[in-house]
Structure formats: structure tokens, C-alpha cells
Amino acid sequence: MFELLTLTIVLSAPLILGAMGGFTSERSGVINIGLEGMMLMSACVTALAAAKFGPVGAVGLGIASATVLSLLHWLATQVYRIDHVISGMAINAIGAGGTNFLYGKLSDPSHNGSISHVPVALFSWLAFFVPVILWAYARWTRGGLRMLAVGSDPDKARLMGVQPLRVRFFGLLATGLFTGLAGSQLLAYTGNFTDNMTAGRGYIALAALILGGWRPVPAFLACLAFGFFSALRIQLQGTALMGAQLPSEAWASLPYLVTIIALAGFLGKNRTPAGLGKP
């Protein structure tokens, strides 16, 4: 039982951090399907830097690499006005291809690139505090309210003297920070980098954000639920449940199915930020 609890927390943490990265981006009005690529890039760079720069430097560089991709998204969508979805797909391609290339060329066979001295628990604590901090930030501070204003109606915000370009820059800067932490956590937990090791976690984080109605605390709870089901899947592997043996794929597709049902409007009202995707 205790094992299930700790496993849930460890598996939820990257989803939570990823979803919080999605929160600061999407609530300022930038659609972000590039979370996956950013998390992957951070995991790769953290692994590559671990040998040379030590655990703290490695995590820092991982965050920096995710931030570079995040700001590329800002440049593409805000300055060049590319459709947010297309830019996000491109970010994911650069993340998937770039990590394959960088790791294939630069990895050091004598060092497996783990950051074992960084306790995974540190990331778990962060994952529990960040949603609350973001909730308070968005509710009570000037910066947070401006972020929500830009995300709800960029034109009105512009009339009020708030520059969407600027607000979104800082929103995506935070996205880089959180997705970078998510990638480092994945690496710290699994121990070494493998190709496409995020395996759709960026998309699940986005799904959790949508399920949570783009609010940090409900999104956090959705991530915990998804993490719990993954933990359950690992624990129940091979054992029959209620007389029938469900294939593990059924458990794995659960988050996606729930999200589709939520988008179909069967789980309460549509809370999509009104300014999402608008220039």
C-alpha cells in the first residue's frame, strides 16, 4: 500500500511539473503541445551534462535547454505569428530528433549520465508546492492577473496597456523552467537517457491541464489520478482483476480516453481560456 503511494507520487511528479508548464503558457494564451519536446530535451541535456557539470549544473542546463525551445515557441508564435499548433509540432520534432542526434553523438559511454545524487524526493516536494504557488500567484498578484487577462482577451488587455508579447514571454520562460524540471525528474527517476523516454508524458500533462479546466490545483489532482493509474498498472501487472485479465494497454489509454470524454463536454462546462491561440 505504502509502495503504491510512493510510486504514485514519483510517477505523477513529471506530469504535474509538465502541466504547470502548460498552465503558464496556455493561461497567457499560447497553445502549447510542445511540452513533450521540451521535457525530452531537458532529460537529454541533463544526462549529457551530468558527467561534466555535476548534478546541480546538469539540472540547470536541462532547464536552460527546455527554456531555449520554449522561447523558440514564443518567437515563432508571437513574433512570426505562426499557428501555435504547428510551432508546437515543430518543437516536438526538434526535441525528438535533436535528442537522438545529440545523445548519439555526445554521450560518454564511461558515464551512464545518471544524476543519482539528486534525490527524486526533491522534485516530488516541488511538484506538490508549485501548483499552490501558481494558484496564489494567478489569483492575488499583479503579474498573475495580467497573465489571466492576456489569456482571456489579448485585445482588451492591450487597450489596458498590458503587452501580450511581454506577458507571454515570461509565461513561456516559466514553461521552460517547469518542463525542464519535469525532464530532469524523469532522468533522476529512471537513471539514464533513452530515445523518446518521455513516451507521451508531455501530452498526458496537457490532457491533465485540460481536464482540470486550465486551473492549477484541479490539474494537479488530475495528474495525481493519472499517476495513480500508472502505478496501479505496474503493481497489478499480470494479476487478474475482477476475474478478467485486462491488457495493460487498456490502462495506458485511460488518461487519453477520459480527456476525449471531457472535451466532448460530458464532464462539466467548457473552461477553455477565451484568448487561447489569438495573436
Binding site: 497553445i31 503541445i33 515563432a76 512570426y80 505569428r81 505562426i82 499557428d83 499548433v85 504547428i86 510551432s87 509540432m89 515543430a90 518543437i91 516536438n92 520534432a93 526538434i94 525528438a96 530528433g97 535533436g98 535528442t99 537522438n100 542526434f101 545529440l102 545523445y103 548519439g104 553523438k105 555526445l106 507521451g200 501530452y203 496537457l206 490532457a207 485540460i210 491488457p247 494497454e249 487498456a250 495506458a252 489509454s253 487519453y256 480516453l257 480527456t259 476525449i260 472535451l263 466532448a264 463536454g265 467548457n270 477553455t272
Partner: protein, 327 residues
Amino acid sequence: MVLLIVGALALLAGLMILSGASPLGSLVTLLKGSLGTPAAISGTLRETTPLLILGLAVFLALRAGLFNIGAEGQFLLGAVACTWVNLRIPGFGGLILGTLAGAIAGALWALPAGLIKAYRNGHEVITTIMLNSVAVYLTTALVAGPMKDPKQDSPTTADLVAGSRLPWLYDHAPVQLSSALLLGLILTALVALWLRKTVAGYELQAVGASPGAAKYAGIDNRRVVLAAMCSSGAIAGIAGVVQVLAYEGRFYAGISPGYGFDALGVALLAGGSAWGVIPASLLFGVLAKGGTSLQLDEVPKGITTVVLGLIILVAAALRYRKVSTDV
């Protein structure tokens, strides 16, 4: 704009030099490996076929203003449905029925995304991404369970009999040319004609260009969105069918190395006409085939995916510019 293109090229060259590979040498390897010999060209055309048909599927949806990121899932469902039918009904009848089953499976897999877009205004990109993941898990479970060939260790179906497969036009290994490519070209012509010459095609493009104006002109936007999404899914399903019947001869987990994503790039590069899908898919085919030769040269294949990402960014930026100067 020039800045963006120069920046993309500089990023690419920087990445290669940083890791000790020669940018120019890699380009030569890539071109030699994809266009250097008749065998290489036939390999490139083989890679081009699924990209052409899938690109067409994404292109059609794009004309209606929809991003069908779900082509990947529709491809998988089409492939698995066709294999299922063909294993039961071998021969020419299976070929026809299997193709039909694949197209229907693809269309059905696109339907939820179309419905949610039309009636709930949920973004089709999110739903199709979710449907892609479900499709991967569903087909993996099928091929590891009920559809698995008991004689094999890996999750794969049995091989189809030769009579129910698409014939080769030219077959002297290693140079092979499948009739599938011809089928792709015919589909391109059909889509081009449909968009240009029919009322439905016109309505589809009207909705894509300006939903508000289309509604004012009396077009039922919801019906058009549904129709566009489902036809796009059907074409993507046919791409899966063709991949099984022409090249693979069976279905296995991981049959698509991410064709659905490449198809989005193909469709974006194609511009305003369905005919543009042909050169765009050829370019992506060259990158896919040449990427394998790069790998032999100890340049990881991922670099071609980075190139695709950058092409998509630049193409999208150019596209936006074109739109903004038109208006």
C-alpha cells in the same frame, strides 16, 4: 523572414559542427543514399508512398481549416482493419473489401474529433493527439493478443497471401516499383478535382478560408467540418491499407515510424493545391531514405527530424506572410 531561414540553417550547421560531423559531407551522403542509384531511388519512392497519401489526407483537412494530427492513428486503424479482413478473405475480393474496411476504419477513427470540433468546439488537435495514443495502444493490444500469429515470437500478424497484395509494376530486386505509387497519384488527382470542380469541394474550402463568410453564404459549417474530417480519415486509412498491401504484407506493432507527423509537414509545404503534395512528399521521402544512409555514416538519424521541424517552422512562417499580404 530571411532571418528565420538563415537562423534555421545556422542552428543546423551549429548542431552538426558541435558534434563533430561535417554539414556538407552529410548533405552529400544524404543525397547519394536517396537519389544516387536506381535502388536508392526505388527506396525513396517506397518511403514517399505513405507520405504522399497521408499528406493528401492532412492537406484535405487543412483546406477546411482543420489540423488532422490524427492521421497517424487513422493510418494504424486502416492498416489493422485491412489486415484483419484480408487474413479471412484472401485473394482479389479481400483486396477490395480490405481497402473498404481500412477506409471506413480510418473515417470512424476521425469521427469523434470531427464531432467534438463541430458540436463542442473542442480543438481537433487535442482530440486527435489523444486518439493517436489510443490507436497505438489498441493496435498493439490487438496484434499482441487476438490477431497475433502463434508461430511468431514478436507481436505481428501472419503474412498475407501473395494474391491479396497490390502488384509490383516493376520487380527486379533491389529495384522495385509498386502500383501503390500509381494509386497515390490517382488519389491526388481525385482530391484535386474534387476541391476544384465540385460544390462540396468549394464549400469545404470556403469554410477553411472564412468560417464566418461561409456561414453567411448558407453553408452548414458543422456538416462540412464532419465531412472533411471523415474524408481525411478515410484517406489516411487507405494510406495504412496501401502500406500493408503493397510493402509490408502484414501488420505489426510500430508499423508507422511517425508518418502521421511527417504528413503534416508535407501538407504544409504543399501550398494551396493538392498537386503540391507530390513534390512535398518526395522531399520528405528523400530525407527519410537519406537519413538511413546518414546513420551508416555515424550521423544519428534524428538530424533529419530536426530538419523536418525547421522546414515546418519556415514553411508555416512563409504561409502566414502570404495570407497577410493577400488580405
